[in-house]
């Protein structure tokens, strides 16, 4: 959990993924489309990946990846990200966290 918090606070937009996960790929693409450059951490490449995955589950992230953090705050997985994007909230969050400017 500490490792998650540590990494999540390092950049305005942070996404935890797995290298083989195509839904994670979709989520990354959405962020790129919005002009954000999120920090991407692949759990299967992290030393404490299993621990981190459990911690994310503990936060209520289902599925565990992709897990999105904006401004250090846990936002959710793909369903949450898409819902927030549709009503314009995602863009606003990114602007507020200074991940994007417009």
């Amino acid at each position: 959990m500490d490792r998650i918090r540590e990494l999540a606070s390092k950049k305005a937009a942070v996404i935890f993924t797995k290298s083989s996960c195509c839904m994670c790929y979709s989520t990354k693409q959405l962020f790129y489309e919005l002009g954000a450059s999120p920090a991407v951490h692949e759990l299967d490449k992290e030393a404490r990946g299993r621990e981190m995955e459990l911690a994310l589950r503990g936060l209520g992230c289902n599925p565990s990846v992709p897990a999105v953090f904006i401004g250090g705050v846990f936002v959710g997985s793909t369903t949450d990200v898409i819902s927030l994007h549709v009503d314009g909230s995602l863009k606003q969050m990114l602007i507020d966290a200074k991940a994007i400017w417009f």
Partner: protein
């Protein structure tokens, strides 16, 4: 010579037949005896003539039976055509070719097709109710209730699709549960919200500046989410192809069975993620409809829902026309 052959007699009893023949012959003989002018008609000829008459009578009876059969088949056909027409008018797709054999594959697919048809029937009923309310200039309160009902009913099909995708993701992806013309526009097992919004914009006037800007933003967001999901699907296809290609080639000897099995297992895992994509696509559709409703007034939402229904009804009607088109 008086003809007393019993033409109207429907009895086909063999004994009766013989009696008839003998009766006819005797009659003829009787005539010959009293008249005396037909002495060239011997027994054989008379018998032959009688047999011909009998054959002709039986032939007439067979023809009558056949015609009766044709008549009743024709009535049944007319009945079936009427039912088909009714079903098509309701927008329920009924295949006129061999399509149905494919939807029989697996209980999940067939069960979903039936549930979808039922949902569509109910949806059309609600839409007609909405149309009635709009045309009779019903108050906002009444409209809101009906509009909320239609939207809640949309929620139920997304839920049903979600369950069906768990049982048979490929059936949902195939779009075989939709009509051909609708299938043309299929994206991840359903419609594209961004396209729908593009179609609607012209039918929603008058819109305030704020509303117009919000609808345009919604259309753009929807498009972006669709693109992101599409790219994810492409990545999945790519990954799946690479996994399967990895087990090809001369190295596929008995020693590499474990390798093959491993790659198959990996490919299976990838296929498992398809359901997630359908779920997200439906989630996007649901969210877009909800947010559209949020931006618009009740009356505008009502008109939007009617316009959406009109559009899909036309697609379904087009499919029916296409399937019924005359072919060489």
């Amino acid at each position: 010579m008086a003809d007393v052959s019993p033409r109207t007699d429907t009895s086909t009893d063999a004994d009766t037949e013989d009696k008839n023949l003998r009766f006819q012959i005797n009659q003829s003989q009787g005539m010959v005896a009293s008249d005396g002018s037909d002495k060239y008609r011997d027994q054989k000829t008379l018998r032959r003539l009688a047999q011909n008459r009998e054959a002709a009578r039986k032939s007439r009876l067979r023809k009558k039976a056949y015609v009766q059969q044709l008549e009743s088949s024709r009535m049944k056909l007319t009945q079936l055509e009427q039912e088909l027409q009714r079903a098509r008018q309701q927008g329920i797709f009924v295949s006129s070719s061999g399509d149905q054999s494919q939807s029989m594959g697996g209980n999940g697919a067939l069960a979903f097709d039936v549930e979808y048809a039922r949902w569509l029937e109910e949806h059309n009923r609600r839409i007609n109710e909405l149309r009635g309310a709009v045309n009779s200039h019903a108050g906002d309160g009444e409209l809101r209730i009906i509009v909320d009902g239609v939207l809640a009913h949309y929620d139920s099909i997304f839920r049903i699709k979600g369950d069906a995708a768990k049982a048979d993701v490929f059936h949902i992806l195939s779009g075989m549960w939709k009509t051909p013309a609708e299938r043309c526009f299929l994206w991840l097992g359903g419609f594209r919200s961004s396209e729908l919004l593009k179609l609607l914009i012209n039918h929603l006037e008058p819109l305030t500046e704020q509303q117009l800007s919000s609808i345009n933003n919604l259309q753009q967001s929807s498009q972006q989410a669709e693109d992101a999901l599409s790219q994810g699907m492409e990545a999945l296809q790519q990954s799946l192809a690479e996994t399967l290609a990895g087990s090809l080639g001369p190295s596929a000897s008995s020693g590499n069975v474990a390798n093959y099995m491993g790659q198959m297992a990996m490919a299976m895992g990838k296929l498992g993620t398809l359901e997630g994509f359908i779920r997200q696509a439906d989630n996007l559709r649901q969210q877009t409809l909800q947010h559209m409703h949020h931006i618009l007034t009740t009356r505008q939402s009502a008109r939007a829902l009617l316009a959406i229904n009109d559009y899909f009804s036309r697609l379904r009607a087009l499919s029916s026309l296409w399937l019924a088109r005359p072919r060489e």
